[in-house]
Amino acid sequence: MTYLAITDLQKHYDSYHALRGINLSITEGEFVVFVGPSGCGKSTLLRTIAGLESSTGGSIELDGRDITEVASSKRDLAMVFQSYALYPHMTVADNLSFALRLAKVSDAEIKEKVRSVSASLQLDALLERKPKELSGGQRQRVAIGRAIVRQPKVFLFDEPLSNLDAALRVQMRLELARLHKKLGTTMIYVTHDQVEAMTLADRVVILNAGQIEQVGTPLELYRQPNSRFVAEFIGTPKMNLIAANKIVRHEDNLAIELLGQQILFPANRLKGPLPDSVVVGIRPEHMTLVEEGGDLSGRIELVEHLGSEAYAHLQLSSDQTIIIKAPARTELKDGQEVSLKIDISEIILFNENDRVISVIPEEA
């Protein structure tokens, strides 16, 4: 089943440990996205898979063949770079056919492949142009076309959309998703944009400081993050985190005291023993504003209107603010005192080491 297997991959630079034991297996046809903050090692990992960086430990196996020491030109991978890296003095057609010409494919076959790829990416009219005569989106499509035309085993994308403007990025994201559906080739995609990660991926790999923090489908990561890092990284706006003052068992419930008010969490959902201290994570979309008798109350500091919805920043105490999602045409005013209700079934508890406290998911 495993198509690309990465085992205990290590990468040391002179004084910097960039990859600290990466283990990952990818099945054929999967769309895997590496995501994480700057400097987490996601690009290094991709470049190591590509063979552009040598690893200092561990192994990479592709389709049953150990490629750890194989030159990148012999790995049968294609990569789309952030800067597109088109060959500036070649026409679009020459850019597309470069790899085929090096591989000594026959002229007729090259012509046919270039034709079909350029048709599918709407590059037909641009074949005789040079890269500098193209717009950003067109260059992007040429870069993708250059990768597709070779029919490699795996596509590697290194932040391919980050140089495009917002509207074009959304459009190219969609085209990439369609492309993956059509070709069914394994794709590995690096981004720092969690929206790209969530929308494109079959599976998301979250990296942090050279290690894999969590691997899962986008929804798994959203619903069941296994650490505070993942919880905060996935979701816009960020998850709110409130440290509990006290936690006690209260009959069938755990009474968690948050800023002087109590919320009750069903004790039977807890898998392990009663933790000593917890941090409660609540997403902005899992709270509702109520007239009175809510779980928390505070004063509105600021309302951000986005048109389709609004985000209210609430000051709960002198050093705790949270964000809550409100309906679009909210009447909320700055400085207004409000009360809010937490959807208990959606809260996530973290222990003092920032790991999640495992709970039995509530029956839907």
């Binding site: 590509a50 063979g51 552009l52 030159a71 990148s72 030109s73 012999k74 991978l77 294609a78 990569m79 770079f81 952030q82 800067s83 890296a85 088109l86 060959y87 500036p88 003095h89 070649m90 470069f98 790899a99 090096l102 591989a103 250059r146 070779r150």
Partner: protein, 286 residues
């Protein structure tokens, strides 16, 4: 009103530049049409195009023109080809890169006369030169470079002098080559040679054009190396136009013919520049 003021303010520098250019040029033209031999002062009568005729029918004229062109083309080819290869070789980081670069650039800082003396006395001398020592230790007869291969010797000296300039330009250009393009080519299955052929050479097209143009300007007027080493000989074997003009003016005291030669050199430079700019100038617009 405003225009006339700007013109007025610009006038001094424009007039200065014009004078700077026009006076020497018109004097050269004037001298080329009169009899002007330092051995016969006072006999400066108008002779029409006779000086040109003398210069062109001089036995040294044909060799000088061909030597000038051979010297120019050989040095251009040597410095560009070797320059590109050496620059590509020292582009990747290696131990001692800084020192190697400085050593490669340093001949450029040596003045032409000193350069020629080094080659004449330390390298090519048939008795105690390094080349003689090498041939002797291999059991061959030492070669007297300057008298047996005078033009080749001059070409070697001038190439040695100008190779650093080419390397300097190419190394800088290579540093601006996009690494992602090279990586993309690598992913596309390109070997180092492919990358050199399909990415590096096209990337260097413009720097090569610049090197060719600048070197052309200086190589048409090579003088010191010839003066110091071969003295244009034996015969006219290493005489180029610049040296022939010097010969006319200061050895034969004929300023008129020398001026005619100077004007011919201007003409030749323009012809060469025309073809070179046509050949390499295309790259400048890419």
């Amino acid at each position: 009103m405003k225009r006339s003021i700007t013109r007025l303010l610009m006038a001094p520098s424009v007039i200065m530049l014009l004078v700077w250019m026009i006076i020497p040029l018109s004097m050269t033209i004037y001298f080329s049409t009169i009899r002007y031999n330092l051995l016969y002062p006072g006999q400066n009568n108008f002779v029409g195009l006779m000086n040109f005729e003398f210069f062109i029918t001089d036995p040294g004229f044909i060799p000088a023109v061909s030597n000038t062109l051979i010297l120019l083309l050989s040095v251009l080819i040597i410095t560009v080809v070797l320059g590109v290869m050496l620059s590509a070789l020292i582009d990747k980081p290696f131990f001692g890169q800084g020192i190697v670069r400085v050593l490669l650039i340093s001949p450029f800082f040596i003045m032409p006369t000193v350069n020629a003396l080094i080659w004449k006395n330390m390298m090519m001398n048939p008795v105690y030169g390094i080349f003689a020592w090498i041939s002797e230790s291999l059991g061959f007869e030492p070669i007297d470079w300057l008298s047996s291969y005078p033009l080749v010797s001059i070409i070697i000296m001038v190439s040695w002098q100008w190779l650093p300039f080419a390397i300097l330009v190419f190394v800088t250009a290579l540093q601006s080559q996009d690494t992602e393009q090279k990586e993309a080519a690598q992913m596309d299955g390109a070997t180092g040679l492919h990358i050199f052929r399909y990415l590096t050479i096209p990337h260097l097209a413009r720097p090569i054009a610049v090197v060719v143009m600048i070197e052309t300007i200086f190589l048409l007027a090579v003088f010191a190396e010839i003066f110091v080493s071969t003295g244009g000989g034996p015969g006219y074997d290493s005489t180029n136009l610049a040296y022939l003009i010097y010969n006319q003016a200061l050895l034969q005291y004929d300023v008129g013919v020398a001026s005619a030669g100077g004007l011919f050199a201007v003409l030749l430079a323009n012809i060469v520049a025309f073809f070179l700019i046509r050949a390499v100038g295309k790259n400048l617009t890419v």
